[in-house]
Homo-oligomer: 198 residues x 2
Amino acid sequence: MSDSNRPHHHGNLRAALIAAGMDLVQEGGPEALSIRQVAARAGVSHAAPAHHFPNLTALRTAIATEAHRIFTATMEQAIAEAPGTPKEAIIAIGIGYLRFARAHPGLFHIMFGGAELDQDDAEFLHSSALSYGVLARVCAPVAHGPAGPRGTETLVWSIAHGFASLTLFHRTQSMDASEAETLFRTIAPDLPIASEQD
Amino acid sequence: MSDSNRPHHHGNLRAALIAAGMDLVQEGGPEALSIRQVAARAGVSHAAPAHHFPNLTALRTAIATEAHRIFTATMEQAIAEAPGTPKEAIIAIGIGYLRFARAHPGLFHIMFGGAELDQDDAEFLHSSALSYGVLARVCAPVAHGPAGPRGTETLVWSIAHGFASLTLFHRTQSMDASEAETLFRTIAPDLPIASEQD
DNA sequence: TAGCGTAAGTTGACACTGTCAAGTTACGCA
DNA sequence: TGCGTAACTTGACAGTGTCAACTTACGCTA
């Protein structure tokens, strides 16, 4: 395909490749991500991505990095919508977690499904650290529980992640988004988390 | 296998392919599973698996089916080791979950990581139903919690699954198996699960 | 017991994938 | 203006899943 008017240099190919890859993942799951498909969607040759990502793992990691930004924003929004008590904020983390997983199941699986990622990539580390930072910040006011701050964070993270995963596996089984949130709100309030007056 | 109904050429190619596939997954993760590699390990031609599995998804599903059997057995063993109280049995589910995830991370990700599976396959449905059956059986004695049996099961499943996943993502971060179990045992006992005298 | 039908396995092909090597274009800068 | 180099293209190679056509050998029946 030779369009003589088309500039040889793409405006911002790296970003376009990531965006195309996120689309592919959301449309067809983690396995649908392919360098050649991503290149085709960005309108460049099959080898162009190599100049921005040394291999498929690097592209996948960049997508996971961007996904963590969406993930963080989704949790922050849920927290902002919730009443200001520490316990409500913790429940909101679970709600945000759930909403992200259901809105972006492909991205969720890229981030957490065991596909190879460059765990040492600086941008990825930064982006995922911001996600965990939301968790730590919200847990801090109630972190004097039985197992210390780490125990509280682990408990909250486990419930949120486990519940979100559960609804993904069984999302064919008739539980829609609002049902899932309702169930989570039923389960969550009795967690052994010290409230502020403890 | 008795001599009278032994298959034609290979002793039992289907089982050999599944076993080889499980090895591949455990050695190289979910992405290392390939029909041609599995065929090579079983000593047959690259197209032989097609007579037992119509496509890669079917092979992956068969591996997930077998993985669920190991998963169930691991939970049952942890329950058998625990004191007989209902709450101890529930904690044992989490311990079994954790041990399985850490012993077989590749299988764990095949089962729960978002890779395509034949969710309608009869054997898979049966095997995974047995896994969930362990959960339901152990939760039954304490299932009169705030959200009913389903709420209790969802809570226990979420914690167990989320915690196991967490230790997998961060397993490079210095938490070994016994540390993980210790942390889980610290977190779990205070869950809002009705004990028998409630 | 002979032979036939068919399941099991082989060979070959095709389109697709990731990745490397080498060539071409065009942008930034001296 | 011209040069160096980053960005992109073209082409190739090995590996993948899957399909079609072929061969083998087992079980069954006549």
